[in-house]
């Protein structure tokens, strides 16, 4: 996994783009503020705009144009980039309005996140909407694992996933497709202009199965890491808002099991890699996710 910070000239270029986007009439603001600088991604705030240099090793191409245009049609739900992506010294760069992120010290906006997802999932799907495709992160992160007992536990759990998620088989034909965010977590929520919560990061936005947007909290709850009351707030608000990923009554886990299992494995693999890189042992929550993998691997025969 990439951990290096961005090349030195890039910050200055992004700040310049931000100043241009803010315009000469923008109120005076403090210098550029780096919001994120990891894994080759650099995010810089200049006043009311945010300039993002996307992952250097990912092919964005035409679908990113389509995703930005699609996001701009859903302003109640998504805080979309202001224009098409730019090519800056070979890097894909977008400019978006600034939004206030979630404060982890405050009550977490589970209900607001659930309602935004339900609204996105209920939006009409344009015929030319790009496809979210299949979940690819879990296979990618598991392939980076080295040797060790925790690594083996995660790999055994991974072997229980259907071949199309492991990247080996053909994706099953999609059931009813909805617009989905594709990589939802609490870091993907900001308070935009006017104070309304919105979703950011539209790089995976597209047609897909909506249960995958609920996968991360479902995985963390199943791993015993997310307290039941927080999970219940999230799921309850989603069901109340009429979200289509789970039945309004009855067992949500028929729809959530596979996405939650995949994310539990992906999160555990990410934790094992992160602990290995910094030569530390797993903390309590990270160990809980590896333990979830042990239950997954023990409970099922390889698919």
């Amino acid at each position: 996994m990439r951990t290096e910070t961005a090349p030195p000239g890039l910050l200055a270029r992004l700040a310049e783009i931000g100043r241009d986007a803010a315009g000469p009439d923008a109120p005076p603001h403090p210098g550029p503020e780096t919001l994120y600088d990891r894994h080759g991604v650099l995010v810089v705030r200049v006043g009311d705009v945010v300039v993002k240099a996307h992952q250097p090793d990912r092919e964005y191409g035409r679908p990113l144009h389509d995703r930005i245009r699609l996001a701009q049609t859903l302003p109640r739900v998504l805080l979309a980039p202001l224009g098409p992506p730019l090519d800056i010294d070979g890097r894909t760069v977008t400019v978006s309005p600034y939004g206030e992120p979630v404060d982890p010290q405050e009550e977490l906006p589970w209900e607001e996140g659930a309602r935004l997802l339900a609204e996105l999932h209920a939006a009409p799907v344009p015929a030319d909407a790009p496809s979210w495709g299949r979940p690819t992160r879990v296979a990618k992160v598991v392939s980076r694992l080295g040797s060790g007992p925790a690594e083996d536990v995660v790999r055994r759990a991974f072997a229980t996933l259907p071949s199309w998620i492991r990247g080996e088989g053909i994706e099953p034909p999609a059931e009813t497709e909805h617009l989905i965010h594709g990589d939802w977590h609490l870091g993907q929520m900001v308070r935009g202009p006017g104070g309304r919560w919105r979703l950011i990061d539209i790089e995976d936005l597209g047609r897909g199965s909506p249960a995958w947007d609920l996968a991360r909290p479902a995985a963390l709850y199943s791993g015993g890491v997310l307290p039941p009351d927080e999970w219940t707030r999230f799921l309850g608000a989603y069901q109340q808002a009429g979200g289509p990923a789970v039945p309004t009554q009855g067992d949500p886990w028929t729809a959530l099991d596979l996405p939650a299992r995949s994310l539990a494995i992906q999160i555990a693999a990410t934790c094992v890699l992160s602990a290995g890189r910094s030569e530390r042992s797993l903390d309590g929550a990270e160990q809980a996710m590896v333990d979830a993998c042990a239950r997954i691997g023990g409970a099922r025969r390889p698919a």
Binding site: P104, H185, R216, G223, G224, I267, C271, G284, R295, I296
Partner: protein, 88 residues
């Protein structure tokens, strides 16, 4: 107090706030007035408690991570949990 059945010695125990007398010899139990009602009331409260949120077959059997409770106030997430909630 002696057991009315076998004359053994009765000892007083407190279970969930209800005093019961139990015979050391025959293990028979003596309940004071109202204590049977108190016990059945507690039983019905237990049965009426909302079921815990459902989970998949591989879900954690019990809270795997200790959560600090501060009288219903928000519990901030730290360390690994923070990264799991806030990043890809």
């Amino acid at each position: 107090m002696h057991c009315p059945k076998c004359r053994g010695v009765m000892r007083t125990y407190t279970r969930s706030g209800v005093h019961i007398e139990q015979c050391d010899s025959c293990r028979g139990i003596f309940l004071d007035y109202g204590e049977l009602e108190a016990l059945s009331q507690m039983e019905s409260q237990y049965r009426a408690a909302p079921p815990p949120a459902a989970a998949p077959g591989w879900g954690a059997p019990a809270p795997a991570v200790h959560h600090h409770h501060h009288g219903g106030h928000h519990r901030p997430h730290h360390g690994g949990v923070f990264h799991m909630l806030f990043s890809t």
